[in-house]
C-alpha cells in the first residue's frame, strides 16, 4: 500500500460524474420527510404541540440550524486548514503538540459546559453558540489536514523540487492538492458533528431544532421531540451528501 492510498482511503475510486449511488441519500431523506409529514398528519395535536409543529416555527428553526452549521463550518475551514498545514511542517515540530492539545481540548470539553461558560464572557446568542461549535469541530479537520499533507509521497516532493518549484509552490500545487480528499473527509465528519451539536444552541438563545427536541422531552410531547430529531438527522444526512459531492468534484483528477 502506498502513501496515497492510505490518505485517500475513504474516497471511492469511481469517476467524477454523478452516479446512481449519489441519489440514494437525497431519496432516503425525502422519503423520511414524507413519512414524518404523513405521520404527524395522522396525530391529533394539542395546543402545545401545535405551537411547535407548524410551518413558521419549523422553517425558522431549520434556517437557524443550517445557518449555525454553515457559519461554524466556514470558520472551522478558515481556522483548521492553516493550522493543520502549520502543524504538519517538520520545522514546526515544537508547536505541533501545542496546536493538537488545543484542538483536542476543544473536543474533550463537554460542549454544553463550554457554551454556558461562553455566556459569562459574551452573553447569549448566535456568536456564543458559534464558539462552542467551532471549538468542537476544529479537531477532525485539523487532524485530517495534517495527515493528508504528511502522507504525500516524499518522492513526489523530491520530483517537484527537482523541477525547480519553491516551497510555497510545492505546498500549493502538490501537497495540498494531494491532501484534498483527506481534508474533505475531515470536513464531512466536522459537518455532521456540527449539525448534532448545534441542537445545544437552544440553551443559549441560538435557536435551531434543539428547541423542539428539548421542549418535547421536557413536556413529554413525543411528536415534538421526534420531529426535531428526525429533521436534525435529515440535515446531517443532507450535508454529508453535499460533502460527498464535493469530494467527488474537488478531488484531483487521476487519483
Amino acid at each position: 500500500m502506498t502513501a496515497e492510498t492510505v490518505a485517500v482511503g475513504r474516497v471511492r475510486p469511481a469517476g467524477g460524474a454523478l452516479g446512481l449511488r449519489h441519489l440514494i441519500t437525497p431519496l432516503a431523506v425525502c422519503a423520511a420527510l414524507a413519512a414524518l409529514y404523513a405521520w404527524v398528519g395522522t396525530l391529533e395535536l394539542d395546543s402545545i404541540e401545535r405551537r411547535s409543529l407548524n410551518r413558521t416555527v419549523i422553517l425558522t428553526k431549520a434556517v437557524e440550524h443550517i445557518q449555525l452549521t454553515l457559519v461554524a463550518t466556514a470558520l472551522v475551514l478558515v481556522i483548521a486548514i492553516p493550522l493543520g498545514i502549520v502543524a504538519s511542517r517538520a520545522r514546526n515540530r515544537l508547536i505541533t503538540p501545542v496546536i493538537l492539545t488545543a484542538a483536542n481540548l476543544g473536543q474533550a470539553i463537554p460542549c454544553i459546559g463550554l457554551l454556558v461558560l461562553c455566556t459569562f464572557l459574551m452573553g447569549v446568542g448566535f456568536q456564543t453558540a458559534l464558539v462552542g461549535l467551532v471549538a468542537y469541530a476544529v479537531l477532525p479537520v485539523l487532524r485530517n489536514t495534517m495527515i493528508g499533507v504528511q502522507q504525500v509521497d516524499p518522492t513526489l516532493i523530491e520530483a517537484a523540487r527537482g523541477m525547480g518549484m519553491t516551497r510555497g509552490q510545492i505546498l500549493r500545487r502538490v501537497e495540498l492538492k494531494l491532501a484534498v480528499p483527506a481534508i474533505l473527509a475531515g470536513l464531512r465528519t466536522a459537518l455532521v458533528l456540527t449539525v448534532g451539536v448545534a441542537t445545544l444552541g437552544a440553551f443559549v438563545a441560538a435557536g435551531g431544532f434543539g428547541e423542539l427536541i428539548i421542549n418535547g422531552l421536557k413536556l413529554n410531547r413525543m411528536p415534538v421531540t421526534v420531529v426535531g430529531a428526525v429533521l436534525t438527522a435529515c440535515i446531517a444526512f443532507a450535508v454529508d451528501w453535499l460533502g460527498a459531492l464535493a469530494e467527488n468534484l474537488l478531488k484531483p483528477r487521476g487519483m
Partner: protein, 323 residues
C-alpha cells in the same frame, strides 16, 4: 478551594458531633434510624427517586430521611433525571415514590392543555384523574407553590416603576424597547407559559425581544440585564433572593398552581397506610418561604442537599428529637 474544603470538613465534623450527641441517648449507631420519631414503617422498603433540580432533590432527601426515621428501609435514588424518567420509573416499579407538582401532573401526565386557576381545585382534579386513569396516588399538597413568575433585577424595577405584570404591559406600550424577555424553551409553548400570559394580559412582545435559554442561564442573564430586563423564574428558587431579583406580582392570577405532592402507585399506598400519617405533617410545613431558604442553602451557599434537609427535619422536630 483549600479554605472551602476546610470549612466543609469542619461542618461535617460538627454534624458528626451533633449526631453522636443525639444518638448517644438511644444507643444506636445510626442517628436517623434510632430517633424517637416512631416505627410505623418498620419492615417496609421504599425506593425513592427525584427530579434533577435542587428543590426536587431536597424534597426527595427529606422523604428519604423521614421514612428512615420511621423505621423503613430506604434506597436513595434521588436526582434520577427529569420528569419523564421519574414518572416512567414510578409506573414500572423501579422506584416507589417521587415528588411531583399538581400543574405538571395535570399538563404533562394527564395531557391537559389548559390548567385550572384555583390551586386546591387543580390539585384535587389532578389527584383524582391520575388515580383513576393511572392508579397513581398523590399525597399532599404542600402550601409551597413552585409556579412561574416574571422577575427583574431590583434596581431596574425601581427605575422602570414596575411591580406587577400589568405594569409590564403598560411599559410595553410606553417604552417597548425596555420589555425584553429571557425564557426557557418550554415556557414559550405552554398554555400556562408565554402564549397564555400574553393572551391573559393582552400583551404582545415582538420575537426579537425574546431569548430562549436554559433555566440556569435565564437567572444569570436576568441578573446581568444585558440580554433581557425580564426573566421567567420559579417562585421557590433560592437564586431570586441571592441575585436580588424582584418578582412581579401576577395581578390577574394567570399562572396556575404547582403545589408539590408525593406520588406513588396505588398498591404501595394501600400496602402502607402509615405513609400518609408520616408524610402529611411535613408536607403541611413546606411553604414558599421555607423552600426558598432551603433551596438557597444549596444553590447559593453550596451545601449538600442531604445535609440541608436533615438539618431542617431535625430543627422542625420531625426526627423525634425536637420535643
Amino acid at each position: 478551594m483549600g479554605a472551602r474544603t476546610l470549612r466543609h470538613t469542619l461542618a461535617l465534623l460538627a454534624a458528626a458531633t451533633l449526631t453522636v450527641t443525639t444518638v448517644s441517648g438511644c444507643g444506636s449507631a445510626d442517628a436517623v434510624e434510632a430517633s424517637s420519631a416512631g416505627n410505623e414503617l418498620a419492615g417496609a422498603k421504599f425506593v425513592i427517586g427525584s427530579k434533577d433540580f435542587t428543590e426536587n432533590i431536597m424534597l426527595g432527601q427529606i422523604t428519604v430521611q423521614l421514612l428512615k426515621a420511621h423505621g423503613a428501609e430506604v434506597v436513595d435514588k434521588t436526582n434520577l433525571g427529569g420528569t419523564a424518567p421519574n414518572r416512567k420509573a414510578l409506573e414500572s416499579g423501579s422506584i416507589d415514590m417521587y415528588w411531583d407538582y399538581s400543574g405538571t401532573g395535570w399538563i404533562e401526565h394527564l395531557k391537559n392543555a389548559t390548567p385550572i386557576q384555583d390551586s386546591a381545585e387543580q390539585f384535587k382534579a389532578t389527584a383524582a384523574a391520575d388515580l383513576e386513569k393511572n392508579k397513581i396516588q398523590w399525597i399532599g399538597p404542600t402550601p409551597l407553590n413552585n409556579t412561574y413568575a416574571l422577575a427583574i433585577r431590583s434596581e431596574k424595577a425601581k427605575e422602570l416603576g414596575v411591580k406587577t405584570i400589568s405594569d409590564v404591559v403598560e411599559l410595553s406600550k410606553s417604552k417597548p424597547e425596555e420589555v425584553t424577555l429571557c425564557i426557557e424553551t418550554e415556557f414559550s409553548t405552554r398554555d400556562d407559559g408565554l402564549p397564555g400570559l400574553s393572551k391573559a394580559y393582552g400583551m404582545t412582545i415582538p420575537k426579537d425581544r425574546i431569548s430562549l435559554l436554559d433555566t440556569g442561564v435565564v437567572y444569570t442573564e436576568t441578573d446581568k440585564g444585558q440580554t433581557c430586563n425580564f426573566g421567567e423564574v420559579f417562585t421557590t428558587d433560592g437564586r431570586i433572593a441571592a441575585l436580588d431579583l424582584t418578582v412581579l406580582q401576577d395581578d390577574k392570577h394567570f399562572f396556575p398552581s404547582y403545589n408539590a405532592a408525593v406520588t406513588l402507585r396505588q398498591e404501595t399506598y394501600q400496602k402502607h397506610p402509615a405513609l400518609e400519617k408520616v408524610l402529611q405533617p411535613v408536607i403541611d410545613k413546606l411553604d414558599d418561604a421555607t423552600m426558598q431558604k432551603l433551596n438557597a442553602r444549596v444553590d447559593v451557599d453550596g451545601e449538600e442537599p442531604g445535609k440541608v434537609s436533615a438539618d431542617w427535619l431535625d430543627k422542625s422536630g420531625f426526627l423525634g428529637s425536637g420535643s
